[in-house]
């Protein structure tokens, strides 16, 4: 009897197919009270379908769902919520314009079917739940003004107001910093003590693994297995997830011939409350990694090099010549390219065809002698890049939206390579991309370096930096704290330096 109650959620032999595609094939999952579990799988592996089935949004074709010992034939969203299952989606579903107090409490008030608002009650509920997770926040602050990590805590508090027994968090650590992740983990561990289970859903080999007790891996809609976290390391897990052995080679930089001038040199670049006194050089064929936590000024620095964030002082030299970069247009003309972190909003015209996306940076070059747009030239150019970078797509007319993350990123890379850059800045080039595509993109980057392009990779994924760069620049609070050659560095050492500030 007691044994049975230990199990909070049991999902047995779930089958689900959408028109012709088997999204889930006999998947099992069982979670104990107070357990911290991780569900990993690449994009399209069926993770989100499984979550939707557990939360009652999607009906399985076959299989059993047992929550709190109750068997549900036909699980509705309301049943799932009243049994204490709460999903925190990646977008958090908060109201940016409302106060923290309201964001935490409104759901409960709605559930009670109240018509009038008692502000004291709203504040009391919010205060109680924040206290529950040992956190102090200004109840009256609007949610749009707080950090993503705090927004996440607000969402957790909201889930707690509805008697959550299992909190499912979708990709919780993609947008928050190391120290914030630690804070989130301490909250999760606190909930565990109260008997509340957590299920992390992720397609990244990320920090969530560290605090999960067990990891469920699914691939192509099938259960690969359930593993104790201690048994797993990066390579075995990526093998389970992708089904392929990924060989990542370390990048070795050899200066081909003596270069007189570096491709890019930055001297004493400063911008108030962004970064201070930044000095570094990039030589032809080098891959420089810039890392630091969110807020260390890494992206701001990149934006300044690309003419999107005017620095207060300092100099930028390209090929030894002092240059002024006032706009992206200037930057492109000087041979700079910038791949933004936010691929969907900043990198692509998501509703436009792949062909149009690739040629957008070089429209000038596609004009014929009457200064009219030459569609054949466009087609040829785009086709070449799609072939060169292995973009898998049915045609050039396919809209960018329809591609997987990895293919989308290759389109963005193609679009910038089309400008024939001398210096390529890549801001988090593999964020949200599955492992196989990731290593493919890394190989593309290394090949580019071998062709003599100077490359800057900005990333907070330490393995990415270590395996792909020949030199590393560490930023903290807008200042360079360390410049090292990669061969003098290990992952652990790097993590250690990065974490030092955080407390």
């Amino acid at each position: 009897m007691v044994e049975k109650l230990e199990k909070l959620l049991v999902v047995k032999d779930i089958n689900k197919s959408y028109v012709g595609v088997q999204a889930l094939d006999k998947v099992n999952l069982s979670i104990n009270r107070g357990e911290i579990r991780c569900l990993v799988g690449e994009n399209g592996s069926g993770k989100s379908t499984l979550i939707k089935i557990i939360s009652g949004v999607v009906k399985p074709d076959e299989g059993e769902i047992i929550i709190n010992g109750k068997k549900f034939r036909n699980l509705h969203a309301i049943d799932s919520i009243s049994e204490g299952i709460q999903v925190i989606y990646q977008d958090l579903s908060l109201f940016p314009n409302l106060s923290i107090a309201e964001n935490i409490s409104l759901n409960q008030i709605i559930e009670k079917k109240k018509r009038l608002i008692n502000w004291k009650e709203i504040r009391d509920i919010a205060e109680r739940e924040l206290c529950n997770i040992n956190k102090k926040l200004d109840l009256d602050e609007r949610v749009e003004n707080i950090s993503i990590a705090n927004k996440q805590l607000v969402a957790i508090c909201r889930a707690l107001t509805q008697d959550a027994k299992l909190i499912i968090m979708d990709e919780p650590t993609t947008a928050i910093t190391k120290s914030e992740i630690n804070r989130l983990f301490s909250v999760i561990l606190g909930l565990k003590k109260k008997g509340i289970s957590t299920l992390f859903v992720s397609h990244k080999l990320s920090e969530v693994l560290h605090i999960s007790e067990k990891v469920t891996v699914i691939r192509d809609g099938k259960l690969v297995g359930v593993y104790n976290t201690e048994e797993l390391d990066y390579d075995t897990l990526s093998f389970y997830m992708s089904g392929k052995k990924i060989v990542d080679t370390v990048f070795n930089y050899q200066e081909k011939e003596k270069q007189k001038e570096p491709l890019l040199e930055v001297k004493n670049l400063s911008k108030k409350s962004n970064f201070q006194n930044i000095n570094f050089k990039v030589r032809s064929g080098e891959i420089i990694g810039i890392t630091g936590i969110l807020g260390s000024g890494r992206t701001e620095l990149a934006l300044s090099l690309f003419g999107l964030n005017k620095p207060d002082s300092g100099e930028i030299y390209i090929d030894g010549k002092l240059v002024k970069i006032k706009s992206p247009r200037d930057a492109i003309e000087l041979g700079l390219s910038y791949l933004p972190e936010d691929r969907l909003n900043q990198g692509l015209f998501i509703k436009q065809s792949i062909g149009n996306n690739i040629v957008i940076t070089i429209l000038q070059r596609l004009l014929n002698r009457f200064k009219m747009f030459d569609n054949n030239k466009k087609y040829e150019t785009a086709k070449e890049w799609v072939k060169d970078l292995n973009v898998i797509t049915p045609s050039l007319e396919t809209v960018a939206q329809a591609l997987s993350g990895g293919n989308q990123q290759r389109v963005v890379i193609a679009k910038w390579l089309a400008t024939l850059p001398k210096i390529f800045i890549l801001d988090c080039p593999t964020v949200g991309i599955d492992i196989a595509s990731k290593s493919n993109i890394h190989n593309i980057i290394k090949e580019l370096a071998n062709k003599g392009i100077g490359i800057i990779i900005i990333s907070d994924e330490i393995p990415e930096i270590i395996r792909n760069c020949n030199r590393i620049i560490l930023l903290r609070e807008g200042r360079i704290v360390k410049k090292v050659n990669t061969d003098e560095m290990t992952e652990d050492k790097l993590l250690d330096i990065l974490a030092r500030k955080s407390n």
């Binding site: 579903s93 314009n97 018509r115 009038l116 608002i117 409350s273 807020g295």
Partner: protein
Amino acid sequence: MLKNNRSSKIRKLLKKNELYLFLVIIAYSLFITSINSSFLSLENMFDLGKSSAGMGIMAIGVFIVLLSGGIDISFTAIAISGQYIAARVLIASGVDNIIFAFLISCLVGVALGAINGLLISYYKIPTLITTLGTASIFHGALLTIVGTKAINSAQLPDCFKIFGAKDLFILTKPNGVNYGLSIFIIMFIVLALLTWLILKYTMLGRGIYAIGGDINSAVRSGFNVAKNQLFIYCYVGFLAGIAGVLHISLIRYSNPTYLVGTELSVIAAVVLGGTRITGGSGTIIGTIMGVAMVTILNNSLILVGLSSYWHNFFVGLIIIISVCITSYQSKRSIGNIIFR
């Protein structure tokens, strides 16, 4: 701690657009008074209040639509429909009663508002397109079905005239001229208060904020978004109905082509009052001040000796300036978030 608390309160106050708008209104009023001393007199204030009450009531409606992330440009067509139909019914039936007039006008308003609301909530048509279309339909239907003939002062039922002259109390100037606080102003204040109460203390009101903040989150949280939207557009219709009656009582004349065309300056007043055009944020106090600013501007140009044609020019200018300031502020605060 206490001191800290107080200083953070002051900082919050300084962040509010309302404060700056208030200071601008005061400064401008003082400037106008220095040119024409009669401007800041109680009589002129009462007069301004009375003539702008109708616009103010429509502005309240626009305010809650904007708050919910929508926009309504059909409310002037609704107001004139309510007004003209009410006047026609009163004349035809011989019932000379202002309550009856309000009843008809508001009924027409709510019915037309419900059409907007249904189209928007059930068919999920963008609010701008919906109300652009219905504004045309409502006004066109009024002109073709009900008529185009103006109702002049002689034909107008007495109840409108009596209501239009009703003051709550009367004061006498030293030169013997009487002036008073019009009941229009009281109605405006009551409706503003009612709206404030709905927004602040009912789930319906919080739902309007929630929808304006993030409509998908509102659905996931369990708000009945469709019902909420239906309410919003009916309420706008209701307010437009009231504004229609105030308008006819003020000018003692009804022409079914009036009012339509003034919707943009009402929306402008609301935006000027700090309500975000993208939804989710704004206050009723701000809306009232926005209306006050536009009214004062309108009234003062003549006092300063400028043609009233300058009115549009200045309203536009003020809006652009105020939006620039807001945009600048939010740009700065985004910078702050990154480096917190």
